[in-house]
Structure formats: structure tokens, C-alpha cells
């Protein structure tokens, strides 16, 4: 049975709770869990001060969190196993540095989701902030593996300097998607604002909606790459439909960014005929 944590006292300043991870809680007794340190601003307080902790029956390495956790940061930091399920909005750095396991959020999430993650799955059923799967400031590479799925919109610099892995954004994303990307795949089901793929070195950005293209990208060809079919099959269990059949349409391939100069690719979906494959029928909503 999972360990259930309910937010009892709402933090007034950011609460840094990197202990809210299966690795830190699974092997500890209830009393030990309540005594773990969290940082409320600069104050060190026991976890029990903010959360009611409950375990029913046999312990597993699953965590369920309830409450308004907008100010709670670093949930699931560097976790390697088990799962974290959150009912409510969460704060920054969700699943940063994580190497395995899965995180599910039924609500909104803040910036830096899955920053520099090495593996595992993060699924946010709501809007998210910026710098998803990104590299921290001054760090050479962002996420190196794993999958991040966002049902709603996303903020700035999604996948900044990411190296490998997959990010899927269901709603519209803000500017600088895939900034300085070094590899991996970003799928944009709701399009993006300006400057997608700026300074990208390698990697792939797939957009189902039309995208403003930077002048330093050049149109290359129209394709239906085989890997999109494989990616579509991988994303299918999550309820994401990625169009890839030739009769539905094709992808316009842009390569760049020539300012680096890079070998990245931007794939923008073009339905075969207007009305045949509108947003509702392809890729709409995760």
C-alpha cells in the first residue's frame, strides 16, 4: 500500500522537500518519516509539521500526496524507483535529476519539471511551467533520458540543452522550445510561440500545429520519417495520437540552426487536405 501524505499546514514561503521521494521514505518507519527535515524558507522543520503521514498495511515504494503544493519544491528529486502520485498543484523542480520510477500529477506543475533527469516518466495532467527537462544554469546538458508528458500548456525554454529523452507538450508552449538542444525529441501537439529550436545542435522537434520558423532554419524536404511511427506507437498507451500515415499528410522538415551551425530538425505536420485531419482528429489532447 502507498504512503499517503496530506498537506496539513500551507507553507508561507517555498518549502524545499526533496525527501518526498520513494528512495527517502520507503525504508523508514512512520516516526522516522515524520522527523525528516524539510526547509521552510531558511528554517529546518520536521516533515510532520506540514504533512499528515499515513500508511495502510504493507509498505511499498509508492507515494500519494494530497493538497495545494504550489510552494513545495523538489518533490521526487533524484528518485530511482517506485511512484509518486500528486492530487493537487505542485511547485518547482518536480522530479529533477530523477533516474527511474514514475511521477503523476493531477493538477498544475511549476518550472524545471524533470530538469536534468536521467530516466523514468513524469506525467502532468495540467499546465506546466518553463524549463521542462532543461539543464540548470551553467550546466552543459539537460535531461539525458526518460519521458515527460504535459497535458496542458508549457512555459519558456522547454527542453533547454536536453541531450536525450522525450518531451510531449499537449497545449501551447511559449518561446524558445528546444533552446540549444543537443538531442532527444520534443513533440508539440499545440504548437509554440516564437523561436522554436533556437541554437539547436541536434535533436528533433515535432510540431502538429504550424510553427513560426527562425530565419536560420532552412526548409529541406517533405517526409514521413519512419521513427515518427515508432514514436507514435510508444506514445499510444498514454492516449497520445501522433499522425504519421502518408494518407493523412506529411511533415515539412526544416534543418538548422545554422547559426550554431547545427544539425537539428524541425518537423511540422501538414495535413493532406484541409478539414480531413483537423486538430481534433490528430494529436488533439492527450
Amino acid at each position: 500500500m502507498p504512503i499517503t501524505l496530506r498537506l496539513r499546514r500551507r507553507p508561507t514561503v517555498p518549502l524545499e522537500a526533496e525527501v518526498l521521494s520513494p528512495d527517502a521514505l520507503a525504508d523508514r518507519s512512520l516516526a522516522e518519516i515524520r522527523a525528516l527535515t524539510v526547509y521552510h524558507g531558511k528554517r529546518q522543520l520536521p516533515l510532520g509539521e506540514f504533512f499528515d503521514v499515513d500508511v495502510e498495511g504493507e509498505r511499498g515504494d509508492d507515494l500519494v500526496l494530497h493538497g495545494e503544493l504550489t510552494k513545495v519544491r523538489w518533490i521526487g528529486r533524484a528518485m530511482t524507483r517506485g511512484s509518486v502520485t500528486v492530487h493537487g498543484p505542485v511547485g518547482m523542480h518536480l522530479g529533477a535529476h530523477m533516474a527511474g520510477g514514475r511521477i503523476e500529477v493531477h493538477g498544475m506543475a511549476g518550472d524545471w519539471i524533470g530538469a536534468e533527469m536521467k530516466g523514468g516518466l513524469i506525467h502532468v495532467h495540467g499546465d506546466a511551467g518553463g524549463q521542462i527537462g532543461a539543464a540548470y544554469r551553467g550546466s552543459p546538458r539537460g535531461m539525458t533520458d526518460g519521458t515527460i508528458l504535459i497535458d496542458g500548456s508549457a512555459g519558456l525554454e522547454v527542453g533547454m540543452r536536453m541531450r536525450r529523452g522525450t518531451i510531449v507538450i499537449g497545449g501551447p508552449a511559449k518561446s524558445f522550445v528546444g533552446l540549444q538542444m543537443k538531442g532527444g525529441t520534443i513533440v508539440l501537439l499545440g504548437g509554440a510561440e516564437l523561436r522554436a529550436g533556437a541554437w539547436m545542435n541536434r535533436g528533433t522537434i515535432i510540431s502538429i500545429e504550424p510553427l513560426p520558423i527562425l530565419p536560420t532554419f532552412a526548409p529541406a524536404t517533405r517526409v514521413n520519417p519512419g521513427f515518427v511511427g515508432l514514436l507514435a506507437r510508444y506514445l499510444h498507451p498514454f492516449g497520445i495520437r501522433l499522425p504519421h500515415a502518408p494518407e493523412e499528410g506529411d511533415y515539412r522538415l526544416y534543418s538548422g540552426d545554422f547559426s550554431v551551425p547545427g544539425k537539428g530538425e524541425l518537423l511540422v505536420w501538414r495535413p493532406a487536405a484541409e478539414g480531413v485531419a483537423s486538430r481534433e482528429s490528430v494529436g488533439g489532447g492527450i
Binding site: 508561507t12 526533496e18 527535515t37 524558507g41 531558511k42 528554517r43 551553467g138 527562425l214
Partner: protein, 321 residues
């Protein structure tokens, strides 16, 4: 990732034969800049002064500085990042579609001429202002310019320098940098400095309402910050140290009037090229200096018990997991 290639204004004065002002209006905002450090200056290496130097102005409209410029490039508002990225591609002879260049407000011929001039320069210097760093794209615009300058060093000597504004803003950056390793956006809540602009930078902290007190020295966020940030400053105890009554003082819980730096209080100010200059007071003030006030607050804090628990030494974020 970039980084800043820079030098002092003395070197610009002596050697820079190619000067670019990007998103700034030095003729009106830094009126002594031309005559003291850049285009009007004669030097050992540039004996003919203005004739030996080329000046380029990049801005969204023709300001007074355009009259002083040899080349004025009118970039379309919000297209600085695109223009800088195109320039980065062009200096490396990478292909850029000629039809895509006009969306920046300029033409291929103009950019080719600019690149020819930049590469032919012996010592180039780019000054950039708030017209670049505070418009669409923000920090990435500055990053684009700094990267362009770094890459131009493959062809010739090139440096970049921000045109800093009022007072001692450079000083704040420099001091934070040698004390903590980071210029701004730092938190000490775990007992050691951590850096993350966007998370810990003042305006973001205030807009999200992440702090429960504010201590403001020599700044007026009440006059410049967005409304949610000002509303939060009104909600929390805000303490202001300033020689004048500012917008921020009006919404603050406490205002402490201090002696004005350089006029009635001694200290060190940093020029925009990060050169420290001593300030000698000319007048006496009945008010204490900023330093006095902060020292007295620190002494009062020392009398209180330490804020970490008995055994609680600062713990790294990585310590527990």
C-alpha cells in the same frame, strides 16, 4: 553557452576602431560616453580620433545617437534575437534565406556590409543597452549578442559591454560575484549560495509571493516592478534604506534615510567596465551611511540566537537523497 568577452573602457578609448551601440541611446542617456571613451577620443593608436573610428547604431527608432553614427540600422521591434542569430550564421558563411532577412527590418546587403566592416576592424566593441536586454527575448537577447561577440574573435579582436544605468548597479553584481560566485538571483536559505535566475531573482520571488520580508537598499522597485510584485511588497514588512523618499518608501513599513553615496558617504563605486572607483564625500550629512545602518542591524541580529537548530549545520540539497 557564451560568457562575456570584455575589457576596460581604457582599452576601448585607446584601441577600439569599430564601435557598435545596440539598443541604447548614449547621446542622451550616457552623454559623456562618446567624448570620454569612444568615438570622439584621440589616442596613441587612433591619432585622428573620430576619423579613425567607425560607429554603428542598432535601434528600433532613429534617436539622437543616430546623428553621431556612421551606420544606422533600424531593426524591427522584437527582432533583435533573430538579427543576432542571422549574423552568427552569416559570419560563418552559413546559408540564410535572403527572403527571410527583411523580417528583421534590414536587407542582405546591409548585413553583408556590416559583417565586412566587423571582420575588417582591428578592435571591435559592442555596447548593448536596455533596448536589447529588456525587450522580447530578454536574457537570450543579451546571450545572443555575447555569443556573436565571442565568435567574432575567430576573425578579429571583439569585446562586449553592457551600458549600465544609474548609480552603482555594476557594483552590486561585482560584489555578489566575488563573494558567492554568482552575480544575482542567489538564495542562502540552506546556508550556502545557490543560483537560479527565474527562481531566486527579486522580481520573480515578489511576483510569486515567495518571501515574507523585504530589505531594499538603494533601489526603487516600487517604481519599476510589475504590479503583482508591488502588491506583495505592500503585504509584507518592507524596509527601505534610501537617501530620498521613493515610491518604495511610500509602500514600505519602515524607511531609514541614509547619507547619499559619494556626496556625504564614502565608499567604492564600480564603473560599467567593473573598475572600482573610490568615492570621497564632499559634504557632511546628519544621516547615517548605508553601511552604518546595516552594521547596526547585523549587531542586533548577532544578539539573537542563531537561526539554525543546535546541530543544524547548513546541509546541501544533495545531502538527504
Amino acid at each position: 553557452m557564451g560568457g562575456k568577452v570584455t575589457c576596460t573602457l581604457g582599452e576601448v578609448k585607446q584601441k577600439a576602431d569599430f564601435i557598435v551601440y545596440w539598443g541604447g541611446n548614449p547621446a542622451e542617456c550616457h552623454p559623456r560616453h562618446f567624448t570620454k571613451y569612444t568615438i570622439m577620443r584621440k589616442s596613441k593608436f587612433l591619432p585622428n580620433g573620430r576619423k579613425d573610428r567607425t560607429m554603428v547604431l542598432v535601434d528600433i527608432r532613429e534617436t539622437k545617437s543616430a546623428k553621431a553614427a556612421d551606420v544606422f540600422l533600424q531593426v524591427r521591434p522584437g527582432k533583435d534575437f533573430e538579427l543576432l542569430t542571422i549574423l552568427r550564421a552569416l559570419i560563418k558563411d552559413q546559408p540564410v534565406d535572403n527572403d527571410r532577412i527583411p523580417e528583421t527590418g534590414l536587407t542582405r546587403d546591409v548585413l553583408d556590409d556590416l559583417i565586412r566592416r566587423m571582420k575588417a576592424a582591428k578592435f571591435g566593441c559592442m555596447f548593448f543597452g536596455m533596448g536589447l536586454s529588456m525587450t522580447c527575448g530578454k536574457h537570450m537577447n543579451s546571450a545572443a549578442l555575447l555569443t556573436l561577440v565571442a565568435e567574432l574573435n575567430a576573425f578579429t579582436k571583439f569585446v562586449a559591454m553592457p551600458m549600465r544605468g544609474h548609480g552603482n548597479v555594476t557594483g552590486a553584481d561585482v560584489i555578489m560575484r566575488w563573494q558567492t560566485g554568482y552575480p544575482f538571483g542567489i538564495t542562502f536559505n540552506r546556508g550556502y549560495p545557490r543560483y537560479n535566475p527565474g527562481e531566486f531573482s527579486t522580481v520573480d520571488v515578489l511576483v510569486r509571493g515567495d518571501c515574507d520580508a523585504a530589505f531594499i537598499i538603494g533601489a526603487d522597485p516600487g517604481g519599476t516592478m510589475p504590479q503583482p510584485a508591488i502588491d506583495h511588497l505592500k503585504r509584507i514588512p518592507t524596509i527601505v534604506l534610501d537617501p530620498h523618499i521613493t515610491f518604495t518608501s511610500r509602500l514600505a513599513r519602515v524607511h531609514i534615510t541614509t547619507a547619499p553615496q559619494g556626496i556625504a558617504a564614502p565608499g567604492t563605486a564600480y564603473r560599467m567596465d567593473e573598475l572600482p572607483l573610490p568615492l570621497k564625500p564632499a559634504l557632511k550629512s546628519p544621516y547615517p551611511t548605508d553601511e552604518d545602518v546595516v552594521r547596526r542591524i547585523n549587531a542586533a541580529l548577532d544578539a539573537k540566537p542563531f537561526w539554525l537548530p543546535e546541530d543544524g549545520r547548513p546541509r546541501m540539497l544533495t545531502a538527504q537523497v
